[in-house]
């Protein structure tokens, strides 16, 4: 008897460890999500309230009304992710392979922006990029901007803002995967007459794939839902789907549309990730891990 209960306890143990996390997920994720699904199927208006009516047409309506903002969100997030990668990869590579004793200092520098609030950092870009500021004046001097050109309130400012704010999310996973590469593998490649470029392409890059995968997801997913950069550095012509959800929820009190838009966003991202993981993720990830 005693033996049995001990065995059962051992069997249950993994689930017990899972308990707190599971509870957290149910209370703060599953229940709100179910509630949101319920809200998204309601109809009504802010003054007289909303009632549940299985209003599935909120979904197609929301998608067609806000298709511009959806497309813009994915385009901005995509471009920003590529920019982050182009800047973040050499940076992570340098820190991992060349920084020597400066490595920890440089890593710290990558993280330092997080010490200042996200909103405040973005607001300071408002000042840096302002029409009468130094940056715009120099860009006008060298002809990058037209004499009456501007940066604020343009796509460029919003994408730059997103790329700036999410760069550490790209750099850190890249650094981690680059740092743990066994240097002897690269040495072996060069010993076997691979040029440095070939060694990089055939050894370093594939081994860094998990970092690229993690980094791009960590950048892309929050960037798609971001609304701070578009709100502070852009105009309504730059508004992303996050801005729409925010104002539908808080200012217009159109809860069903806001809830439906959130669901659509989640669904699209989920499908996108699955596709991405299929193409780049699972196979190369398992290969890299072996």
């Amino acid at each position: 008897m005693l033996n049995l209960s001990a065995r059962r306890r051992r069997k249950l143990f993994p689930y017990l460890i899972l308990g707190p996390g599971l509870l957290w997920l149910i209370v703060f994720f599953a229940i709100p999500l179910a509630n949101q699904a319920y809200v998204s199927l309601q109809t009504g208006d802010p003054e007289s309230g909303y009632t549940f009516t299985w209003a599935f047409n909120t979904y197609p309506d929301a998608i067609s009304t806000y298709s511009d903002q959806f497309l813009r969100s994915f385009a901005y997030a995509g471009v920003a992710t590529v920019i982050c990668f182009v800047i973040g990869f050499p940076l992570a590579y340098f820190i991992a392979f060349k920084a020597g004793r400066w490595r920890n200092v440089m890593l710290l520098l990558v993280v330092v922006p997080f010490f200042v609030s996200y909103v405040l950092r973005t607001v300071s870009w408002q000042l840096i990029l302002n029409d009468n500021g130094w940056v715009v004046a120099r860009l006008r001097d060298i002809g990058v901007l037209a004499p009456d050109g501007r940066l604020l309130a343009t796509n460029v400012a919003v994408i730059a803002g997103i790329a700036y704010n999410f760069l550490p999310f790209m750099t850190l996973p890249l650094y981690v995967s680059l740092e743990k590469i066994d240097r002897r593998l690269i040495e072996a490649a060069t010993d076997l007459y691979a040029s440095r470029a070939t060694a990089f392409r055939r050894v370093t890059l594939p081994l860094a794939l998990p970092g690229i995968f993690a980094g791009s997801l960590l950048t892309f997913i929050p960037a798609v839902g971001d609304f701070i950069n578009a709100a502070l550095l852009g105009t309504p012509n730059q508004y992303m789907i996050g801005n729409v959800i925010q104002s539908r929820f808080l200012n217009i009190l159109d809860y069903p549309t806001a809830a439906a838009l959130s669901f659509v966003l989640m669904a699209v991202i989920l499908v996108g990730i699955l596709a991405y993981a299929r193409v780049l993720g699972t196979r190369s990830l398992t290969e890299a891990a072996v």
Partner: protein, 402 residues
């Protein structure tokens, strides 16, 4: 200031923050604090129960709140909308304690926060709230507020400027008492415009293409646009309003407007990013101290007049204390103190004379004390049914991309 370092600029900007008026504050804090605000609104929304409605409100009702010992008083108002020494004086005079909370940042957002209690007929834990006309109208018509016992507010009866009587949603002011008013007109930067602006047509002048901001609030933006179309915005029908929004849309597509703002036009205006903005009068008094080139004009066609109204929410615990407080802020001396601090238009008579004694220059400011010539050109918001209001807001939201 092209050579100013970003750090010092940011520091200065933060300094500006601490001294701006409530409208300026809302906008910037509003957009800056987007991520932080409204969690409770979200939570409140999640319940999403259907609303009960249809109780017709007797606009002639009078409250009856007999005098009791004054204890606690819960007052919800907008940020930076009072001289806080006034609160201490009231505490001392009455022996009560006013718990003054600046938790109204946006009419709709605040409504979203307390809507479920209101609909369920429960108290919202506040004895006094100050809401802008159209939202105040909604609360009155839906029966979310208590009728005021005017016997407890002799100052209000005596000192309320007569022009505030007769609003369609509460003609006798049986449910509401104005807190402050302000005008929505044009704020501009003389350095960028190269001269004075007098007409609302300047907002649509291609000379300023991409250098104008509009408010997202349709009552203000569409109202001013209607004035350029020769219509009286107070008497606007829904069709008028939609036509004005269509005009805004047309010019927006041509790139006339740099942004649609809450109240966050002030940074763009002081920095010279824009030449002019649809702006709130009280803001410009404050902003002028940062940038002397800034001006506010009541355009020749007119300006919109908004009022924030004190009301006692349904089933409030301390209606007598609330009325005592309203009576207190309608003492001209107290009202003068508030007006001098917030720089908006006081609804209390006799304020100008009192301010003239201490600050003659401020007493002459048309922003605080518009003369009768200007007052003729100040148009209160139109009154719409909930359906019409929703249609108007939907149309505007489409233009502003929200």
């Amino acid at each position: 200031m092209p050579h100013e370092s970003p750090e010092s600029a940011l520091e200065r900007w933060l300094d500006e923050q601490t001294q701006t008026s409530r409208r300026a504050f809302i906008g910037r804090a509003g957009s800056a604090g987007l991520a932080l605000s409204g969690l409770s609104a979200v939570l409140a929304a999640c319940g999403g129960v259907g609303g009960e409605k249809g109780n017709t409100v007797d606009l002639n009702a009078t409250g009856n709140h007999s005098a009791v010992k004054i204890g606690a008083l819960q007052f919800s108002n907008w940020p930076l909308y009072i001289d806080k020494s006034v609160l201490k004086t009231w505490d001392k005079q009455t022996g009560g304690t006013v718990n003054y909370v600046e938790d109204i940042n946006d009419n709709s957002e605040f409504f979203g926060k307390v809507r479920q209690q209101l609909v369920a007929g429960q108290p919202i834990g506040r004895d006094l709230v100050a809401l802008t006309d159209y939202m105040a109208a909604r609360w009155v018509r839906d029966g979310y507020v208590e009728a005021i016992d005017k016997k407890n507010i002799p100052n209000g009866v005596k000192n309320l400027q007569p022009s505030y009587l007769g609003v369609a949603w509460d003609p006798k002011r049986n449910y509401s008492l104005p807190w402050q008013s302000g005008a929505t007109g044009i704020g501009y930067n003389t350095k960028e415009t190269g001269g004075p602006i007098t007409s609302l047509d300047a907002l649509f002048d291609p000379k300023y293409k991409g250098r104008v901001t509009m408010l997202t609030e349709p009552y203000d933006s569409a109202g001013l646009t209607l004035l350029t179309m020769g219509k009286n915005p107070t008497k606007a029908t829904l069709d008028d309003q939609l036509a004005a929004i269509a005009k805004i849309d047309k010019y927006n597509r041509q790139g006339q407007f740099r942004r649609f703002t809450g109240n966050d036009y002030s940074t763009d205006l002081t920095k010279g990013n824009i030449a002019m903005a649809v702006a709130y009068s009280g803001d410009l008094v404050q902003l002028q101290s940062d940038n002397p080139n800034l001006r506010f004009v009541y355009p020749e066609q007119g300006a919109m007049l908004f009022t924030d109204n004190m009301m006692i929410p349904q089933k409030a615990s301390h209606p007598y204390a609330a009325e005592n407080f309203m009576n207190f802020v309608y003492e001209p001396a107290v009202a003068a103190k508030i007006a001098a601090f917030v720089n908006y238009i006081s609804p209390v008579t006799g304020v100008q004379e009192i301010i003239a004694k201490t600050d003659p220059k401020l007493a002459q400011s048309p922003l605080l004390f518009p003369d009768t010539q200007i007052r003729k050109r100040l148009y209160p918001y139109p009154t719409f049914t909930p359906k019409q209001e929703a249609a108007m807001q939907a149309a505007m939201a489409k233009v502003t991309g929200a």
